[in-house]
């Protein structure tokens, strides 16, 4: 054999995805595809009222329907009516109301679960819902958050006596710096309610597995590991008898980061009936019963000197919890809490958040979770301050942002950003965008009073992701850690199993994780099988959300691979009769330094470890490496996004003419996947700015809870994006990587609205509500005209 030479690492290459083949052929394993013998199908009677007493409920007529196996209300379920958990009690005195899966006596949102029917086919279960006798006595409804916390409001939970869930304060000193400010700008922004609307509806199957006491649960979830713990706690089924599998999962965006009522019901009913139980939601159910996101009233005030130096920031939020607390409902605004000061240096920051109950669908994590809200508010008010000061908004940002030589930098909210280079990202974005030319065109259109005006929207953002250092989570009263696990095994045949605790649902982990392991083990990407999302095969993990999978899980992969190599080195040295220190490891082969004839590939080492015929003393058989790692810090990707926005002042129609996104996510494992994540993120952020919003009438009836009325953008509604990158490696991550899953969503919403306002500012417009539909924009223009 000849000496091996270094081949290019798989890391950093745009390798086509391993996941694609089965998805392109329709050979997928969605939860709803599972058809087990003897399955009974669950259908749910849901409340048509936002707030009502259940004065009568009789499920027995449904039992007479053909093919119906049984029917249950809360009374019939008794102890099996599990209580839905919230794991983030953000304050000591937080109000945490009971949240039984089936409402026992009062319904508090449209879509609340009242009763279930189980039948041997899905259509019979749905048909039999009609036979249930139910009567309601409507109660006063609270929808508006400010009215909900005003004196005399009807409490959503009568025994709580209030609709205030909690009040959270952070920081201080704002009033002192405000006293010395030349300019103070105050705004109220409404960050409207959104619906995650992943394309695959939720589905869950639970099956007692016969040979043992095990119950296997398949669920379209982002969090099989966390769900297993919570289902054990809620149902009382011993955790070691529960196996949770997330098969192919069609998107999540935070919406499948949950322990849902339906999951608890299906598991408990499978146990009670001793046979498989299945439930798949309709989209109409999804829009009511899957948690929503955002929904904050943001009062924000910024103080600065007359030459544009920021002094301080005051943020007061009212955050809508909805009718109940789900898994991390109260904590979502706090994930944004640290990010209002963003990339800017200032002396003081005050934050206050009031969590409020209303008769609406509970809110919880949706792509970005708290950070899009924060970024929207700060990036919007920076533009407003620039207008007040008569400064270019980019110049104001540059004057106040953290300079690249100042990292690591501890912000006024207490976070320490490891790295960043806002100058470089902005320069790159300006280069791709043509800022000066567009400003000239804007002036030309204004001067000639053209019907279609041009605006330039800027967003220079950073975010904190990669959830998260466990001690930090503990300090915030989050009842879980933020670690991640990886086990890598080289099997006797030389093939590799990489077992991860992350749980992908479209991100491409199977490809990207293989690339990381390949770059360390020297094994081809195609020889690595990534095992995930099954607590039976991948027992340890904290799953996928908060752009954490690479930021945290990537650390575990690297460490597990390195530990495996160190074990293999000892075995190889024994085989080659040399000291481990005399071996070098190149392209998956150990060879004696200076003697290329003496070498052993990793696969051969694995076979020796398997037979264990000739291992050094004290070395255990089998070749595997394990690591469970807790991150040192959050991950801080950043970037500069610029949008050229055309607004037709006669119709209010907004067109995104050019969108430039320069993102710095550190070292990229697979640039093709990174770009895809940015594109998808941009689409959702732009959708909040222009298209989406879930609204209720004053009786608590959802006004647009279907996909025909809730406007998810289609292909003609979005432009092609111009993407670019700068690479400032993270210094706290061993691979130099940062998170990317949420960046596009966080950055793009303010870029769009800043552009819309910029196009209309000369008409007197200083704010446009989201979503900036033609009607909203047109009315805003008319109001500004009328006000003059």
């Amino acid at each position: 054999m000849t000496a091996t030479t270094e081949t290019p690492s798989a890391l950093g290459r745009p390798i086509k995805r391993k996941e694609d083949a089965r998805l392109l052929h329709g050979q997928t394993n969605w939860t709803d595809n599972i058809q087990l013998p003897g399955t009974v199908h669950m259908a749910i009677l849901r409340s048509p009222y936002a707030h009502a007493k259940i004065t009568k409920l009789d499920v027995s007529p449904a039992k007479n329907h053909a093919n119906v196996v049984n029917a249950f209300g809360a009374a019939e379920l008794g102890d099996l009516n599990g209580s839905i958990p919230c794991v983030w009690p953000v304050t000591d005195d937080i109000v945490m109301p009971a949240f039984p899966a089936l409402a026992p006596d009062t319904v508090r949102q449209v879509g609340d679960c009242v009763a279930v029917v189980l039948a041997t086919n899905p259509q019979s279960a749905v048909d039999a819902l009609e036979d249930i006798v139910v009567q309601y006595e409507p109660l006063p409804v609270v929808i508006d958050m400010e009215k909900a916390i005003a004196p005399g409001a009807t409490p959503v939970h009568a025994d709580a006596g209030t609709n205030v869930c909690y009040v959270y304060n952070l920081g201080g000193g704002y009033e002192e710096v405000k006293a010395k400010a030349d300019v103070v700008v105050k705004r109220r922004f409404i960050n409207q309610r959104l619906i995650p609307a992943f394309m695959e509806p939720r589905s869950v199957v639970a099956a007692p597995m016969g040979m043992s006491d095990e119950i296997t649960v398949w669920s379209a979830t982002q969090i099989p590991h966390v769900l297993r713990v919570l289902l054990a706690l809620v149902t009382g089924i011993p955790e070691n008898n529960l196996r949770v599998v997330a098969p192919d999962v069609g998107g999540g965006f935070g919406g499948k980061l949950q322990c849902y009522r339906e999951e608890v019901l299906v598991v408990n009913l499978a146990r009670k009936l001793g046979r498989p139980v299945k439930w798949t939601e309709t989209r109409s159910e999804d829009m009511l019963a899957t948690h929503h996101g955002r929904d904050q009233i943001q009062d924000i005030e910024i103080a600065a000197t007359k030459d544009g130096k920021l002094l301080g920031l005051n943020v007061e939020l009212i955050a809508n919890m909805g009718a109940y607390l789900q898994i991390i409902t109260p904590g979502i605004p706090l994930l944004g809490m640290f990010m209002y000061p963003a990339i800017y240096k200032m002396e003081a920051y005050n934050f206050k958040c009031t969590g409020v109950f209303t008769n609406t669908t509970p809110t919880d994590a949706y792509r970005g979770a708290g950070r899009p809200e924060a970024t929207y508010a700060i990036e919007r008010i920076i533009d407003e301050l620039a207008a007040e000061l008569g400064m270019d908004p980019l110049a104001l940002r540059e004057k106040n942002w953290i300079k690249h030589e100042e990292f690591p930098y501890t912000t006024v909210s207490g976070l320490t950003y490891d790295t960043g280079n806002y100058e470089a990202a902005t320069a790159k974005a300006l280069d791709l965008f043509g800022y000066d030319e567009l400003r000239a065109e804007q002036k030309r259109r204004r001067d000639s009073n053209e019907p279609v005006q041009l605006g330039i929207g800027i967003s220079t953002f950073t975010e904190m992701c990669g959830l998260a250092p466990s001690r930090t989570l503990g300090a915030l009263k989050y009842v879980a850690g933020g670690w991640e696990h990886c086990t890598i095994r080289v099997l006797p045949t030389g093939k590799v199993e990489l077992i991860t605790g992350t749980s992908p649902h479209g991100q491409g982990h199977e490809t990207a994780w293989s690339q990381i392991a390949s770059s360390i083990l020297g094994v081809p990407v195609e020889d690595i099988e990534v095992v995930h999302s099954d607590t039976g095969r991948a027992p340890y993990g904290m799953d996928t959300y908060g752009s954490r999978s690479l930021a945290v899980g990537g650390r575990a992969i690297k460490l597990a691979a390195e530990r495996l190599i160190e074990k293999a080195r000892v075995i190889a040295a024994h085989q080659l009769e040399c000291s481990p220190a005399d071996l070098e490891f190149v392209n998956g082969v150990f060879q004696v330094k200076g003697d290329a004839s003496k070498q052993q590939p990793l696969g051969a080492v694995a076979f020796e470890a398997f037979t264990a015929h000739n291992l050094p003393d004290g070395v255990e058989p089998t070749l595997q490496g394990e690591a469970t790692v807790d991150p040192d810090d959050f991950s801080y990707p950043h970037g500069t996004h610029l949008a050229a926005i055309e607004v037709d002042t006669e119709t209010g129609k907004v067109r995104v003419r050019t969108y430039v996104a320069v993102d710095d996510v550190g070292i990229q494992v697979n640039p093709m996947i990174v770009e895809g994540q940015v594109h998808g993120g941009l689409a959702q952020g732009i959708a909040q700015a222009l298209y989406e919003g879930a609204f209720y009438d004053e009786d608590g009836q959802p006004l647009n809870a279907t996909l025909s009325t809730y406007l998810i953008p289609a292909a003609p509604d979005l432009p092609s994006f111009i993407t670019g990158q700068t690479v400032t490696p993270s210094t706290t991550h061993p691979l130099g990587t940062k998170g990317v899953g949420e960046a596009g969503t966080i950055a793009s919403t303010p870029a769009i609205i800043n552009g819309v306002v910029d196009a209309l500012r000369h008409l007197g417009v200083t704010e446009v509500a989201m979503p900036a539909t033609p009607m909203t924009v047109w009315k805003t223009i008319q109001a500004a005209k009328g006000g003059k």
């Binding site: 694609d20 392109l24 329709g26 997928t28 069609g250 479209g506 279907t706």
Partner: protein, 177 residues
């Protein structure tokens, strides 16, 4: 002859009528007894076990259930199985031969036109129908042809590139050139 109810679950109650239909699915005649109210999407998924056809809404909005009906893209959640009697239906399972991907499938892989993959079968079938009637579409024409299909992951840009890649390939050009 297949009875949907033998395959999936017990027969419907005696008073539920059924109708016998024969549908050519991916080149194979399938005869089944169905409830008149059964949706074509449900027949494909549950009865014929062709689970590559998805359902994502109940308002004909999302397009994940798109199949080709006599060569035209239709939303199979908005068509009754009995309406397909005597017609040809193509699903994602019929797109590729045993050895070769359809150029549209290949384009989606090459241009990273999918992430979670849930919208993908419907997208690809809508794209295939477009390219059969318009082999050289503009980006705008691709966007409008796919406007009945929602994707929540990709932002559509790479889907558009995937379709344009396939168009070049189908015209005998090298999409990588």
């Amino acid at each position: 002859m297949t009875s949907l109810y033998d395959e999936v679950s017990p027969a419907p109650a005696a008073d539920v009528p059924t109708k016998r239909v024969t549908i050519n699915v991916n080149g194979e005649a399938r005869t089944v007894d169905v409830e008149p109210r059964l949706l074509l999407a449900h027949l494909l998924r549950q009865g014929l076990k062709l689970t590559g056809t998805h359902t994502g809404c109940d308002t004909t909005s999302c397009g994940t259930c798109t199949v080709l009906f006599d060569g035209r893209p239709v939303k199979s959640c908005t068509m009754l199985a009995v309406q397909a009697d005597g017609h040809e239906v193509e699903t994602v399972e019929g797109m590729s031969s045993a050895s070769e991907l359809h150029p549209v499938q290949e384009g989606f892989k090459q241009e990273h036109g999918l992430q979670c993959g849930y919208c993908t079968p419907g997208m690809m079938l809508a794209a295939k129908a477009l390219l059969e009637r318009n082999p050289d579409p503009t980006e705008d024409e691709v966007r409008w042809a796919l406007s009945g299909n929602l994707c929540r992951c990709t932002g559509y840009q790479n889907i558009v590139k995937s379709v344009l890649w396939a168009a070049q390939k189908m015209r005998g050009q090298n999409p990588e050139a």
